[in-house]
Amino acid sequence: MEIKIIKNVLEANNNIAEENKNIKDERKILMVNIIGSPGTGKTSFILKLIENMDIPCGVIEGDVASDIDARKMAERNIPVVQINTGGECHLNANSINKALSSIDFHDGILFIENIGNLICPSEFELGEDFKLAMANVAEGDDKPYKYPLLFSKAKAVVLNKIDLLPYFDFNKQYFYDGVKTLNDKAEIFEVSSRTGEGFEVLAKWLKEIYNQYMQSK
């Protein structure tokens, strides 16, 4: 006998993600889920971006182990909460739910630094306002073709380490074509966390998104 079920495998996670959305909306937080591979520069990117923002910012740091990244944030007096997944390769809605209850933060932008991985973090909704996908010049121009789900879901795509362009055979047209085919609406930003290039433009865009968000609340 066959029994119809038709239920999303991630239903339990998605329900908690909805709950997270309500919690963060009550506290007027714009939540950004940052996803990229290990070593793509997520931590230095967040630090640089916060330097360029005149809005209160906080960070939820996801790591398999260690608190190296969280300490870098705390050294600069950025409100931060660390999540160690102990082997899991992505953050799930439940871990964000706990993190939200342990961070004293409201009226600002909360960045979630997801686990360095391009596959599973794309699948798990956390209750964020949007996903920011990060790629970099050194890892190659084929990332949208290899990890389509992430790029199809991201509102913003950041191409980091743009200062390395002269040293790599990175075909920008190929990269842009891949992103735009998957996601026509994605905003693409080219930045270098080392030189600071591109952050002004990105910060301005993010501020607009934040203002729109605050007006809607």
Partner: protein, 113 residues
Amino acid sequence: MHELSITESIVNMVSDEVKKRNINKVTKINIVLGELTGFEEDSIKFYFDVLSEGTPLYGAELNFKRVKAEFKCRNCGMIYNRGNFTFKCPYCGSSGVLIEKGKELYIDSIDVE
């Protein structure tokens, strides 16, 4: 590694169904899996055998229906599937856009005794 939590969800969801309906044995679980999700069938099967041990789910066949991602060409309007390292239209070589297909990840049905 990343299939572990997905497989846990599958086992939990089907187990809930088993309890609710007083089912003795599940023989097959039909799962719909979009091409864009990065999940490996073999890994899910591997974890399933471990996680379902001692439950009415143990030994059930996992049947995956794969859904291909579809693109629509911006130039000629043809619907097509992707190539290995390209998203270009195979008919005219132009760029396309992703149609909302290929992101599926759900349990369609179960076969029970």
